[in-house]
């Protein structure tokens, strides 16, 4: 079933004056199509200057996260038939905008680096691989599914107010390695995330859980980290 949808898109064109404006496009889409298809159609047929990130278009790469009708979502995962006729699209909140819907994710990835997002194990590796039991794998299974689209961190009111806050995404990454039984740098990571801008800034607002396209319960993981930090004596302040 085909239907007309109005896309109201927040534009940011740095070389134009004024650089910010709202554009409206009216296009026909069928009920199987997604917001991303609409954006591609607009770019192809209405306005070639419209800029947005996309890659896989199947909810795996996490490139097309944007604010759709007031909530962060992946454009490739939002069917237009589930949305009202007027679809309002903005870039991810509180990150610097480069052009239109493309935001500068540098800040986001820097936070990720702060939690040492790689396996640290000084023990000599076994002949083939470091074995992990299925039970141990299940402890971190949910956190592994993160695609790092940035929806969670940019939906967090604490991050809006304090850009130094590590944010749900980086904390989830920390969880992924701290609770990995093959990893040995738990204390080092806990010291990094229990500082002034770490886990204690999380107020359990659940905005990140609401927006996660992979349906990860991020707050649950942060709360587990908090309990581990208390148990291990990392109760705040830089160590």
């Amino acid at each position: 079933m085909e239907k007309y949808y109005t896309f109201r898109i927040k534009r940011y064109l740095p070389e134009e004056n004024p650089s910010e404006r709202w554009d409206e496009f009216r296009i026909k889409l069928n009920s199987m199509e997604r917001v991303l298809d609409g954006l591609v159609k607009i770019k192809e047929t209405k306005d070639g200057t419209l800029t947005f990130r996309k890659s896989c278009a199947h909810g795996v790469c996490g490139s097309c996260a944007m604010k759709i009708n007031g909530k962060n979502k992946l454009a490739c995962q939002s069917l237009v038939k589930d949305l009202p006729e007027l679809i309002v699209i903005e870039p991810l909140p509180s990150l610097p905008v480069i052009k239109d819907l493309v935001v500068d994710m540098t800040m986001f990835f820097e936070k990720n680096d702060k939690v040492l997002p790689y396996l640290i194990n000084e023990e000599p590796p076994p002949e083939r691989e470091r074995i992990q039991s299925p039970q141990d794998q299940h402890k971190i299974l949910e956190s592994i599914t993160c695609i790092m689209c940035g929806s969670c961190t940019t939906s967090c009111p604490v991050f809006w107010a304090n850009k130094n806050y590590l944010g749900p995404s980086a904390l989830l990454k920390a969880f992924r390695f701290i609770f990995d039984t093959r990893d040995r740098a738990t204390d080092e990571r806990l010291a990094r995330i229990t500082g002034e801008n770490g886990i204690w800034r999380c107020h359990s607002i659940f905005n990140c859980v609401e927006v996660c396209p992979k349906e990860i319960d991020v707050t649950k993981h942060i709360l587990k980290l908090k309990r581990l930090a208390v148990k291990k004596g990392f109760t705040g302040g830089e160590k």
Partner: protein, 114 residues
């Protein structure tokens, strides 16, 4: 910036606002208490408290305290390990208990006036 509200963020905002109000209330409360130096002053202030406007204010304060207490209990339960799957149900259950307690409390509060 506009962003869609959900149960968690509303619960957090109300918790914050009631907390700020209670901070100011506590300062005012201690200020009033510091004037209770002799039985005469005590009687004077207590008769002031019978004023219906003050009674109405007390009811509002009661609602704020209840809301703040139950928001705190919800967060404490979540931090202690109650599954975050139930965060919304906890918020709604809290709101229900607050409503019941407030009506029961209001009944006793207003009995003193009428």
């Amino acid at each position: 910036m506009r962003y869609r509200w959900n149960t968690g963020s509303i619960a957090w905002l109300v918790h914050r606002i009631t907390g700020i109000i209670l901070t100011f209330y506590l300062i005012a409360h201690i200020y009033v208490l510091s004037h209770l130096k002799d039985p005469e002053a005590y009687q004077k202030i207590m008769s002031m408290m019978k004023n219906p406007i003050i009674k109405f204010g007390e009811l509002v304060l009661f609602a704020i305290v209840l809301k703040h207490v139950f928001a705190g209990i919800r967060i404490t339960l979540l931090e202690m390990g109650v599954s975050t799957k139930y965060q919304k149900q906890l918020a709604y259950a809290g709101a229900l208990i607050i409503a019941v307690l407030w009506f029961v409390g209001a009944f006793y509060f207003l009995q003193e006036v009428f």
